[in-house]
């Protein structure tokens, strides 16, 4: 069984993002970029499937600029077998990403596609579900635990208020949540080995996908800032303020 894992290159989650003064977006120049953290969890899950003998091959794919190759190398160092870079310098919206991934799925024939539940840049939380719809596949989003039996996948999911377990017919699309696993750090020998693993280069046009955006970004702004309030002396003063000044008790 082949597993496909799409990965996205995003601003590192430790970096404080800065809005550009002209409100056209956020500052990306000279900013540390990394693999989307949820995608690391996806890669880890796929590699564990391979180590357990459930998966035969783990293919990673990234849609983005030339530098997205570094993100693919990170995934290869974690244990993926080979990579595909669908190269484009344009912003590609989730729907177009899902269409390109559909083309990759048709070419590669995986039985499971594992994606992060969302990318921490645009926070869309759409691509996995869209891909499942375009393929007519089942989906297990926000996965907390995965177990494969014959022709079926049991997926425990994080939902509001608790956990839900569903059974999915294969092939299936999975999106990962934080607690599914803890991604490994790539070891130095594995980083060296990853440099020799193959990465194919493609373009959105190879899959016949038009990536023209459907949404026009009018502006990107700083969120409204809260002002610091006052320091209270003790609990008695706090309760008094909450009762008599803020009126919330």
């Amino acid at each position: 069984m082949k597993v496909l894992v799409p990965v996205k290159r995003v601003i590192d989650y430790n970096v404080k993002v800065r809005v550009k003064p002209d409100q056209s977006g956020v500052e990306l120049a000279n900013v540390k970029m990394s693999m989307n953290p949820f995608d690391e969890i996806s890669v880890e899950e796929a590699v564990r499937m391979k180590e357990a003998g459930t998966a035969s091959e783990v293919v990673v794919v990234s849609i983005g600029p030339q530098q997205a190759q570094e993100t693919l190398r990170t995934a290869l160092a974690m244990g993926a077998d080979r990579g595909i870079l669908v190269k484009t310098d344009d912003t590609v919206e989730p729907l177009a990403v899902a269409k390109i991934l559909k083309g990759v799925v048709e070419a590669e024939g995986p039985e499971i596609v594992i994606l992060g539940k969302q990318a921490i840049d645009d926070d869309s939380n759409q691509t996995g579900q869209m891909l499942a719809q375009l393929l007519g596949w089942s989906q297990g989003t926000f996965a907390f635990k995965l177990e494969k039996q014959d022709g079926e996948l049991t997926c425990e999911r994080e939902i509001d208020g608790g956990l839900q377990t569903i059974k999915l017919k294969l092939p299936a699309v999975i999106t990962t949540d934080l607690r599914l696993n803890e991604p490994r750090y790539a070891s130095l020998p594995n980083i060296m080995k990853a440099k020799k693993k193959p990465i194919d280069e493609k373009a959105p046009g190879d899959y016949g996908v038009d990536t023209a955006p459907r949404l026009k970004v009018l502006k990107v702004t700083e969120p409204p800032q809260r002002q610091a309030g006052i320091k209270v002396e003790d609990v008695a003063q706090l309760v008094d303020k909450l009762k008599n000044e803020a009126g919330v008790l």
Binding site: D123, I166, L168, K231, D234, L238
Partner: protein, 309 residues
């Protein structure tokens, strides 16, 4: 312009998230219809008919709609979307699950987690965990939108819409429900509570969270936690407030032993009044708190409980 709002419910009770999504839909234009999809959810459809501003309720009832799984929900909603200019659902784990499928089936972009309607085609949504706000305009013929409910007021309940039964398409049979493990609690739900009290890494242990729970019970508040506290095993994951947890905006948010990482602030900074209790006076949480108390939480929290009588 007519909008369809997908109701959030558990087959017996209509959730407030529905009323808030109706408010967002009403901002788009005249007519708002609500779809109640479930199993034996007649009472929910009746409740939805009372939401102010709703002119019609569509009620689809089928055993396979009981858990609103993504595949049958998207088949149902995609079919109904032909009659609407916009389809909206609250950005709950249910809405987030099936709405992108609907958007893909309709070949339109989804606009996720809007926090305001700025015009019939223009919306604002947070990106980078709320560290930036993006205003977008859609060129698609139909709008598929999920709504961050914390920023919209609840629509009232003085309406009297008609309820119409609609047939659901056959179950695609791709997935099936097995079981559910929901946290049982007498306290209000985090995202719907008027008061939330949360603990952070400073709580030190799972047992110590009890002092917060006692205050919560006196105030009728929900209990939350920072990701650090969840990761340390002090609190269950569904208490987590923040970028990777729940987004809350109660009237009063009390942060106890929480330093105020960006991750956490993203989940609570829209609260009306914020109180911070922390022994580190340099903690970033004080920069956004309306009332800050620099104190040892193990002394201050029991005092607070006592002061509440």
């Amino acid at each position: 312009m007519t909008s369809l709002v997908i109701a959030e419910h558990d087959n017996s009770e209509l959730k407030d998230a529905t009323n808030k999504t109706v408010t967002a839909a009403a901002a788009l234009g005249e007519d708002v219809h609500v779809l109640v999809a479930g199993s034996g959810a007649g009472a929910v459809a009746e409740a939805a008919a009372k939401i102010s501003g709703v002119s019609k309720v569509l009620h689809a009832d089928a055993p396979y709609l009981e858990k609103q799984l993504a595949e049958p929900m998207s088949a149902l909603v995609t079919g109904l979307a032909a009659n609407y200019d916009a389809v909206l659902a609250p950005a709950t784990t249910t809405g987030k699950n099936f709405m992108p499928r609907v958007a893909a089936a309709l070949d339109v972009a989804q606009i996720s987690e809007i926090v305001s309607v700025d015009g019939p085609y223009t919306f604002t949504r947070p990106i980078y965990a709320g560290n930036a706000m993006m205003q977008v305009q859609t060129a698609d013929p139909k709008k598929v939108i999920t709504v961050r409910t914390t920023t919209f007021e609840k629509a009232g309940n003085d309406g009297s819409a008609s309820v119409e039964s609609v047939d659901a398409p056959a179950d695609p049979g791709l997935s099936s429900f097995v079981s559910e493990n929901l946290a049982k609690s007498d306290r209000p739900e985090l995202t719907a509570a008027r008061i939330v009290i949360s603990g952070g890494r400073g709580m030190g242990s799972k047992e110590n969270f009890e002092i917060i729970e006692k205050v919560a019970d006196k105030l009728g508040a929900a209990v939350g936690a920072s990701r650090a506290a969840v990761d340390a095993g002090y609190a269950p994951n569904d208490w987590q407030v923040g970028q990777t947890g729940k987004v809350v905006a109660p009237e009063l948010y009390i942060a106890v032993g929480i330093s105020g990482a960006i991750q956490h602030l993203a989940g609570m900074k829209d609260s009306k009044v914020i109180v911070a209790i922390n022994k580190d006076e340099e903690a970033p949480i004080f920069q956004i708190a309306d009332y800050g108390l620099v104190a040892d939480l193990f002394k201050a929290v029991p005092e607070l409980e006592a002061a509440l009588g």
